[in-house]
């Protein structure tokens, strides 16, 4: 329909009676006589307007593409920095006698910005995980009676023994802190990030 109206105004593509590149076409594709006087005095080149509008949209999409690439480079830079930092140091957390069965103890590892939790599952079993929820980094709360870590921000839950998500929006397990027993002391020796 629009193409027919355009042909009526300018002739067909193969037999033009007016230059299709140079005309202003009204939004309703009506003839010039039916248009208000102001439109004849202040013509707008609608096809050109649409062309410029979509070209600008394309420019915006190219900028978005550049932003995504910058994001990828940022991840690569962070990855390089993580490798450069090397293995985390061995750190004493607590003595076995400091923690009752079912109890939890907060500590920071491998640096001051990474809060972690040590939980005593039984007389001989200890586990430690990062306290940041893998959804949006809220602090998880240990609930040994329910055998889970609970994130109060979005009702997320993780298994107390493995740190695997069991409910709510988190998809990745909690960061696991590798423990080592030396005499009566518990040491953190490594950090293990996991996807499943």
């Amino acid at each position: 329909m629009a193409e027919e109206n355009l042909d009526r105004l300018t002739g067909s593509r193969y037999a033009p009676v007016a230059d299709r590149e140079q005309i202003t076409i009204a939004p309703d594709y009506g003839p010039p006589e039916s248009q208000p006087a102001w439109r004849q005095d202040f013509p707008i080149d609608w096809p050109q307007d649409i062309y410029v509008e979509r070209r600008d949209f394309l420019k915006f999409m190219v900028l978005t593409s550049a932003a995504f690439t910058v994001g990828q480079i940022w991840i690569a830079a962070q990855n390089w920095y993580r490798h450069r930092a090397g293995s985390p140091p061995i750190q004493r957390i607590a003595s076995i006698n400091d923690l009752a069965v079912g109890g939890a103890l907060g500590f920071r590892y491998p640096d001051e910005h990474e809060p972690c939790l040590l939980v005593r599952l039984s007389t001989t079993e200890f586990v430690a995980f990062g306290q940041k929820c893998t959804h949006l980094s809220c602090a998880v709360i240990p609930r040994p009676a329910e055998s889970s870590f609970y994130c109060p921000c979005h009702e997320g839950r993780f298994d107390l023994r493995t740190g695997v998500p069991i409910a709510g929006p988190p998809r990745r397990p909690l960061t696991r802190v590798v423990l080592e027993m030396r005499g009566h002391d518990i040491y953190a020796v490594a950090v293990e990030e996991r996807t499943t």
Binding site: L9, T10, R13, A18, R20, E21, Q22, I23, T24, P32, Q35, R39, Q40, P43, I44, D45, P47, Q48, I50, Y51, R54, R55, F57, L58, K59, M61, V62, T64, S65, A66, F68, T69, G71, Q72, I73, I75, A76, Q78, N79, R82, H83, T134, R171, R172, E192, E193, R194, T195, T196
Partner: protein
Amino acid sequence: MTAPLPRPFSRDQRMPILHGMVIFVLVIVVLQLWLLTATMNAWLGGDDSIVCPAAAVSGACLALNVGLFRYLSRIGRTQRASDSEARPSDHTATNAHTTPRARIVR
């Protein structure tokens, strides 16, 4: 600076070219978004094997998008050059800045 095209595209020809580019670039940008989220998820999970390949692919996608956009600019530049060559009297007889390029067909 890229040399202008020997034969300029008309408006009727440029519009489908632009639409094709928009669709193509949109698909690539969605692919890049998926790639970024997948890479971030893997990296936060400790898997850093895909970080560098993903960055390379994303860079290649950006280069493709920039190339398409530059080609579009080249088409527009060629069209403007063609217009000025075709209508020299417009520029000499009147002030080019006050002469509207578009006009109502009568």
